[in-house]
């Protein structure tokens, strides 16, 4: 199945390049993406094929995860139905080309926000949904206790990620002479590491937790080292040239974060509609109409929260204490609770 999938995915990249050649060049004008989504009645969303906690499909084909929830929230806002999303699983190398070619509207695939990507790939990051850092996973049996003791070690990496560069930087600064073994899919990387081919597996710490949980015969045999060697702000991105849709995705994420700050949850969102707090009223559209400025209706944020809950709930359900990953909230807590989640006001 996995092999079949990777075989199927290969032509996707070529197809997107062809699409870039074939599609008629038209000047970008605002609202094009939104109109297209509305007329097809479907939001096209690119996700990770298999990273439980961020994006994964169950046996019925239902997608769950933090990255998945972002797309569901946007679908609820724009199409009034969180289920109207067409999921496109993408590997790390394909993702940008597929977004550029217009086959997906949002890329929500644990993608690190960097200058290079933001400035030269024809896309815009709309914000950070998960603050992460690159880490290492090793076996408990090995005598490796810190990233600095990886001298001359072979490390399994997935191709097409920021990981390769970070690994090289860290190896150089600390004179470790780390030997990367690079695979094109996550499945191949997982298999090689768990077969013992590499002494360490490196990717974002959250990804390591997900892989350990899902793939290891006994997760306790593997340790994720405490050292993080990079900053990895992960977030969704959209195609350039459509400021209106860019703003919609950006503000849906902010609304979800602010909903947590003001205590609006999936469960109480209907009661909150009668709240007298002016901030809550603005978010839920019971006083001012903030939606109009985004080309939406009054209840845009209400629908997003109703569909997936606020950011805190998304975190808890997918990667936090209520999930199998049990990742600590850490940097992803609200700004007033020691974290970095700080949404500009919905005003």
């Amino acid at each position: 199945m996995k092999i079949v999938r990777s075989l199927i995915q290969r032509p996707l990249l070529a197809a997107s390049l062809l699409a870039l050649m074939g599609s008629v060049a038209t000047p970008a004008f605002a609202g094009k993406t939104l109109d297209a989504i509305k007329s097809r009645g479907m939001l096209n969303c690119g996700v990770n094929p298999s990273l439980p906690g961020f994006a994964a499909a169950d046996s019925q084909g239902n997608w769950t995860g933090l990255d998945v929830d972002v797309c569901k929230a946007v679908a609820a806002t724009v199409l009034n139905d969180a289920a109207k999303v067409k999921w496109t699983p993408l590997n790390a190398t394909q993702r940008f080309a597929v977004l550029q070619a217009g086959e997906i509207d949002i890329l929500s695939r644990n993608t690190t926000w960097t200058l290079n990507r933001d400035a030269s790939l024809g896309l815009h990051f709309t914000g950070t949904t998960y603050y992460d850092g690159q880490g290492f996973m090793v076996t408990k049996k090995s005598k490796i206790t810190s990233a600095k003791s990886l001298k001359g070690a072979t490390v399994c990496v997935q191709s097409g990620t920021t990981t390769e560069k970070n690994l090289n930087d860290y190896s150089k600064v600390n004179k470790l002479n780390i030997k990367p073994v690079v695979f094109d899919t996550q499945e191949a990387t997982n298999k090689a590491y768990f077969a013992g081919r590499c002494q360490a597996y490196t990717t974002d710490a959250s990804g390591l937790a997900s892989v350990r949980n899902k793939e290891a015969t006994n997760p306790d045999d593997h340790v994720i080292l405490a050292d993080l060697i990079s900053k990895e702000p992960l977030g969704p991105s959209v195609r350039r040239g459509d400021d209106e849709f860019f703003a919609i995705v950006k503000w849906v994420v902010y609304a979800l974060i602010e909903a947590e700050e003001y205590g609006i949850t999936q469960a109480n969102v209907d009661q909150m509609k009668s709240s007298t707090d002016p901030v809550v009223q603005r978010i839920l559209g019971t006083s001012e109409d903030t939606g109009k400025l985004l080309g939406l209706d009054k209840e845009w944020a209400y629908r997003a929260i109703k569909a997936v809950g606020n950011y805190g709930e998304m975190f808890e359900r997918n990667v936090g204490p209520k999930s199998t990953l049990k990742l600590p909230r850490g940097l992803n807590n609200q700004w007033n609770k020691g974290g970095l989640m700080y949404a500009p006001p919905v005003r």
Binding site: N116, K151, G160, Q199
Partner: protein, 398 residues
């Protein structure tokens, strides 16, 4: 009987008229070329227009910028501060390293199995048939996965490597062994090795001349002496270079083994996978080539009392080669192109490096174009060399 000469063909009209076939042909050719140019330029201008509107940067300027990523194995020292073009060279050299060795091994194995298919021994014939049928009918990617997982499962762990000899380690990191360190003095060794090889060749052709005069031929003795000459001349070259003797010896550390030369499981997987897969095809090419030689040649060889080995070497193979070489060329090309599956088993070949570069820079079109260009030139070069060889083995009209 005399054949009457054919009447001269009617003079072809060269007038610029629709009635003239050559004129119509010319017009159609011009139209086709025009359409082709239009289609290509439409696609190109569209691509560039789309890229501009979406703010995708393009150009080959990134080639000189530092690559910034490390490469697991390389024939020569590569530092991540070197440019992308050096990284591409490393990828190309890794592709060549696996393709060249693979071609040699696949040819040897394929020839043996192809001959085995015609053996009188039923067991040999049966085994060779099974090999051909299995290797040709299972997709290469699956075969590579099989070899890779067999290798990563079966080899001893990195922490506890197997030590067949002192300073030789075998583990999931591959085979690590002592390797003489390169120094300028080794140029003497290289010169010695090359002149030794030339001397060996002269010695062998002298033996052939001797054979033509006297009928005496001792191939084993001739080549043993040839090998001796090669070794002696190499040793002289090494001494002339100042006898450099530093050897990098792999050492076990707390967590693994570092230093020395190494052959990684990724390289071995790809080499074995490509060799075995291609040998199945080459075996069929060789078998059909041998069978194309008229049966009378076999009978004549037997009548002369030639043993089977001499019959193959002197009678059948030289004639079979004329049939074998062209399809063999396309198998060589296939092997080289199939090596692009390397990334599936983690070997840093040209495609692997290209896709890393693609992702770091985002220049999809440029990166893929360079990789395509590299394969195209490799294939054309291989074809050209094989065509030269083909002309040499063809029957010559004297």
């Amino acid at each position: 009987m005399m054949i009457p000469p054919a009447p001269p063909p009617p003079p072809r009209s060269r007038a610029w008229s629709w009635r003239s076939q050559s004129f119509r042909g010319l017009v159609y050719q011009i139209l086709t070329i025009l359409l082709l140019v239009l289609a290509v330029s439409y696609l190109l201008s569209n691509t560039f227009a789309n890229m501009r509107t979406r703010g995708i940067q393009s150009g080959f300027d990134f080639f000189l910028q530092p690559a910034g990523f490390a490469i697991g194995e390389s024939l020569f020292e590569f530092d991540s501060s070197q440019g992308y073009w050096v990284a591409y060279l490393v990828g190309l050299s890794n592709t060549l390293r696996v393709a060249l060795v693979g071609i040699v091994l696949a040819t040897v194995l394929g020839t043996l199995i192809g001959i085995g298919r015609l053996s009188n021994n039923m067991l040999v014939r049966g085994l060779c048939t099974v090999h051909v049928e299995v290797t040709r009918n299972v997709p290469l990617l699956l075969q590579l996965f099989m070899w890779y997982f067999a290798m990563t499962e079966l080899l001893p762990t990195i922490e506890e490597p197997f030590k067949p000899l002192a300073s030789v380690f075998l583990s999931k990191n591959g085979l690590q062994y002592p390797l003489p360190e390169w120094s300028t003095g080794h140029w003497g060794t290289v010169v010695g090795l090359l002149s030794g090889a030339v001397a060996w060749r002269f010695w062998a052709s002298r033996a052939i001349r001797q054979f033509e005069i006297t009928g005496q031929y001792h191939p084993a003795r001739t080549h043993l002496i040839g090998l001796g000459i090669l070794l002696a001349v190499t040793a002289v070259g090494w001494l002339a270079g100042g006898a450099p003797g530093e050897v990098s010896i792999p050492e076990a550390t707390e967590i693994n083994v570092i230093g020395g030369g190494s052959v990684t499981p990724e390289y071995l997987t790809l080499l074995i996978g490509l060799t075995v897969y291609t040998s199945g095809y080459i075996a069929e090419v060789v078998r059909s080539g041998i069978q194309s030689v008229a049966y009378g040649q076999h009978e004549a060889a037997v009548a002369l009392g030639l043993p089977r080995s001499a019959e193959l070497r002197l009678v059948q193979l030289p004639q079979a080669l004329r049939v074998i070489v062209p399809p063999l060329t396309s198998q060589y090309l296939n092997l080289t192109k199939n090596s692009s599956l390397a990334v599936a088993v983690g070997y840093p070949d040209l495609v692997s490096i290209g896709s890393t570069a693609l992702n770091q820079t985002g220049r999809a079109i440029e990166c893929i174009a360079v990789v395509m260009l590299c394969y195209l030139s490799l294939s054309l070069l291989t074809s050209a060399l094989m065509n030269i060889y083909n002309r040499r083995v063809q029957i010559k009209d004297r």
